[in-house]
């Protein structure tokens, strides 16, 4: 046994076990709070888990690299979860096939708006050029967006942050925005959530309505496809 509590901390803080446990317990807590508020948009579990864990890392002087060594086991599951979207898609295939044309039109309008608006607004706000480039793929799911950022020689870790912030902002505003504008079609609402706010928007959509979740998942996958082609094109046209 160690006589020094400090050496025990040094040992534990370097092991994946501690950070995996912290990630799961903090999220379980923020998710329980979200459920207790009947999924109020502002009680978004990702948002609150992020700052609580972030503050914990800063207070204990732990580097993000050390934290991620443990949390990567959770991060890894993003890939399989994307594959698993095939299941709700399969179960709702009739409704999906019936709305294929509106979906494709909305996909085109949405993905162009997502890229063009963020680049123009960021230039208007006089953000540094490398920041503008890193924000461009912000509506696409993290893994794909980071790949796009790399191909533009932008900063992939800033892109990851922009993607998560976009997802959280989208998850918070989608329900009030759609209610305020009187849109009741859950196919359209979900599709917009997944296109604008990728997986976090999709998680939110599944909380609100199963059909919204299915359409959100489809929008997220399709937008990843379209944006991979669109961002390099938009950047060369808009940023001369």
């Amino acid at each position: 046994m160690s006589d020094n509590p400090f050496s025990l901390w040094v040992y534990l803080s370097q092991s994946p076990l501690l950070w995996l446990t912290v990630t799961l317990l903090v999220y379980a807590t923020t998710d329980a709070v979200s459920l207790a508020t009947r999924r109020h948009p502002l009680a978004n579990p990702v948002l609150h888990a992020m700052w609580i864990i972030g503050a914990f890392l800063l207070l204990t002087g732990t580097s993000y690299t050390t934290y991620f060594a443990g949390a990567q086991f959770v991060h890894f599951l993003l890939g399989p979860a994307t594959v698993a979207l095939a299941v709700p898609l399969y179960e709702n295939r009739k409704r999906v096939v019936a709305s294929i044309v509106p979906m494709l039109a909305a996909l085109l309008a949405g993905s162009v708006t997502a890229v063009v608006s963020v680049v123009l607004l960021a230039e208007l706000a006089r953000l540094p050029r490398d920041v503008v480039l890193s924000l461009a793929p912000k509506s696409v799911t993290a893994g794909v967006a980071m790949g796009i950022a790399e191909s533009l020689h932008a900063d992939p870790s800033l892109t990851a942050v922009a993607v998560i912030l976009t997802g959280i902002i989208g998850a918070i505003i989608v329900t009030p925005l759609m209610n305020r504008t009187g849109i009741t079609d859950y196919r359209a609402r979900g599709f917009a959530a997944g296109l604008a706010a990728h997986g976090i928007g999709t998680a939110r959509a599944f909380q609100v309505d199963e059909i919204a979740g299915v359409f959100s998942g489809i929008a997220m996958s399709l937008n990843a496809l379209v944006t991979s082609f669109l961002v390099p094109l938009a950047v060369t046209l808009l940023m001369r």
Partner: protein
């Protein structure tokens, strides 16, 4: 359960291999999604495929289990904010505002296009 997770991972693995091998700009998991969808559709046609994870809703249950915790999976990448605190201190307000305005524009453009086109189609059908 294990076999179902294995099948999901296998679909992703094949997706990654094909995307890398052919140099497609598509992410591997998206190809994996398409592959699993094709498998599920094929199972309904061919009795030969109804076995293991493709029987008794095996892969369906595992997939829904993963999706029930989709939010959790974004937490590790989100904590990466701690690496960007200096940038957020200098440009944070502008970045959040830019992202928020762009998200509102994207949500509205998408939802309105969807509704407009589905209404136009309905009118055509009615005629």
């Amino acid at each position: 359960m294990l076999a179902s997770l294995g099948l999901i991972l296998l679909c992703q693995l094949i997706g990654e291999a094909v995307a890398r091998g052919l140099g497609l700009p598509l992410p591997g998991p998206v190809l994996g999604l398409l592959l699993l969808l094709v498998l599920l559709l094929a199972r309904d046609r061919f009795a030969l495929l109804v076995r293991g994870p493709l029987r008794n809703d095996g892969v369906e249950t595992a997939g829904k289990g993963l999706l029930a915790h989709l939010s959790l999976l974004f937490v590790p990448a989100g904590v990466g904010v701690v690496q960007k605190l200096d940038l957020l201190a200098s440009h944070g307000v502008a970045i959040v505002l830019v992202l928020a305005l762009s998200v509102v524009a994207t949500l509205l453009a998408t939802v309105l296009t969807f509704l407009l086109v589905s209404r136009l189609l309905k009118q055509q059908d009615a005629r």
